[in-house]
Amino acid sequence: MSTGTAGVGQEGRHPMTGNALDGDAEGGMERHTYDVVVIGAGGAGLRAAIAAHEAGARTAIVCKSLLGKAHTVMAEGGIAAAMGNRWPEDNWEVHFRDTMRGGKMLNNWRMAQLHAQEAPERVMELEDWGALFDRTEDGLISQRDFGGHKYARLAHVGDRTGLEMIRTLQQRAVQLGIDVFMECTITDVFVSASSTSGEKAIAGAFGYWRESGRFIVFDSPTVILATGGIGKSFKVTSNSWEYTGDGHALAMRAGASLINMEFIQFHPTGMVWPPSVKGLLVTESVRGDGGILKNSEGKRFMFDYIPEFFKAETADTVEEADAWYEDKKNNRRPPELLPRDEVARAINSEIKAGRGTPHGGIYLDIASRRTPEFIKKRLPSMYHQFKELADVDITAEPMEIGPTCHYVMGGVEVDADTQESAVTGLYAVGECSGGMHGSNRLGGNSLGDLLVFGKRAGDAATAYAKGLGANRPKIVEADVKAAERSALAPFEVEGGENPYTIQSDLQQSMNDLVGIIREGSELEESLVAIEAFKERAKTMKVEGHRQYNPGWHLAIDLRNMLIVSESIAKAALARQESRGGHTRNDYPATDPEWGTKNLVVNLTADGTGVELHEKPLPVMPEELTTYFAAAAPMANVQTEEGKN
């Protein structure tokens, strides 16, 4: 069947999506049956759908935006994969070690291992499907340097790697004829008891077409959540409107749990001016390609912020740092390329100490270090972005940048090999899953994560669905009615509040109280504030009707944002230490005791809030621990042989 199956060619129906275009056509329920329903069409969702389709599942992709617009297009730097095209001595073991160290050892070791092992083949597949990566002199896929990665390892296309990746996967999905339901939002996943075993398992999903407001039901024994992150809960963010934690919240309501929600990555370099683009991402490649950070006194301050943990592999003089770009064998990495959490905290400290720029940022300077031709070739989108949006020519003057909410390490707790959650038939991949990145994600590991675990989830979901035969859990019809009522509730309120106002207040509150540097008292305050927002959200109202109504869409998404915000604040309050993307002013040290446990979040029994418990971190097998011994052969860059 073609893209969007329903009613192709029928009168008054959308040729692509099949939904009735008439705003009055609210009655009647569209219903579809699939083996695998993937929610989200970013890198993870598309890769999962391709895998499921190729494994023989009847597969649907359901996404909130048009196909090809998901947040993956914003990824700039590249896909981390130990292909060894620049450094033959790079291999999965080094990548694994870098990933675990970047995550401050809190990663799920098995996910980090699988990721490092499988990323190279996932990148090669993209090339088979038509991706055009930048090349080395030998014609192989080029690989670039990034923070926390020992070797130049990121396969890239200038600074628009995400666009290349999503377009390649999109074209592959279209070629395979996978059904796509675009501009369709899932609001509930259904769980039913199996007819044979009585065990609770996924039975389907419920949503609405944004275009018409009509409801749609999917009968499917598997749902793969690939909904991305939660950045829209914060005021200053690099994330788009879609990032409202839908997958996180859907999983919790279905009975699954989240882990590591206290760990939020604030990317060190977001734009700070003009106000309308505050938070917009400035790629780490600027630093990978020679850019440095300076305060208002012109000082290259990162040398003052090298933590003990990374001292052995970080340059401590300007001379050595600058020499590294040309001679990586005999020099250590510049401190600007420390993992993101370290750099973001350093920038934050400089700004707080009064050494910020006129617009409250820090200078990121590549103009004085590289030629205009080099900058335009290596960083074309950044050149374009600053020229068009801020009137700044980055080949001639420094950029003003500051930390921005970029990525959530936390997400649905899943099995490392299959990405299945605690709920049978419910899978989570990419940013909405948790564990892979521990307390801090390395740049470039996100795109690899999407591909590696997207494929694994697609394969696992298909195997499970096929194994069910005729014994599929059936959707309980009362659940459908309840989902319908819940979605329509905002239309029924009289005199309530506008959802835009509540969202904006929530974003401000999260930014102020649960931001980059946290304090116990402020986190407690934030939980009180979130309770108040929840009260206000009960009576929010929307105007207009159901056809393409952004106010209504926001009212529904806001419920997810509130659950997710509460999860973040509760976990952040509980973790009394600082580690990776979680920094406590009142507990500044990293505590080895906390390094052995995850915080797990569930929905309370009455569904009105979240509860928290500790869970031991999975223990790494003996043979992998040798990579982290003090005298491990990989500990010192200076002794390594290699070519750039």
Binding site: S2, T3, M16, M74, R167, R172, Q385, L389, N498, Y548
Partner: protein, 258 residues
Amino acid sequence: MGYTLKLRVWRGDKSGGEIKDYPVEVSEGEVVLDAIHRVQGTQAGDLAVRWNCKAGKCGSCSAEVNGKPRLMCMCRLSDFEEDETITVTPMRTFPVIRDLVTDVSFNYEKAKELPSFAPPPRDADNKRRMAQVDVERGQEFRKCIECFLCQNTCHVVRDHEENKQAFAGPRFFLRYAELDMHPLDTNDRRKLAQDAAGLGMCNITKCCTEVCPEGIKITDNAIIPMKERVADRKFDPLVWLGSKIGIRNKDDDGRVEL
């Protein structure tokens, strides 16, 4: 720095609509999409608009600003006088769904008609080799963010619904050119580009190039070379003679005509 912008926005659906006034407070450094969002947040919560990245990277917020096809997120208010009225209307070539949101399914249908990349097997070491200079031609075209402004502005289909069947439009000529120039692709899509995609209907007025927010030289670098390649295949007397007596053109080496 703030002032009240005289903003006008088309409101309505497929049954009709009108341009409405929304005077709105704006401030320094803002773009048209900021003004639209403020209207949405304070005056008309149900104002329908597509957007995602707000950074010119996803190509969602295409519309016509004072009649010119633009991405609203890249359209700075400082490019207008403070007392100037800014009128925002939906893209005209596609059917309106509601307000600024149009039905762009035409483009997704055309995408399905295009045969995909078909590479040979990988090298013996399981890798592929291509020269940077060879991938750069295709890379320019792959910068396309699918905002569909080129499709919207192209006079072959703008106000000519009847041509849509036979015409894929500039966005897909880019794609044909990209694949034709791919160093590894084994398909020859030239006949398809000419016949099924309607490349011949384009009379290279460059309107598409002018509106491309990515600055892709659609006409010069994709459409004209593609037209030349099609012409080579069809009209070069030597190629014609060669094909008659069974000699393969070098350009066709290893490629299968679709």
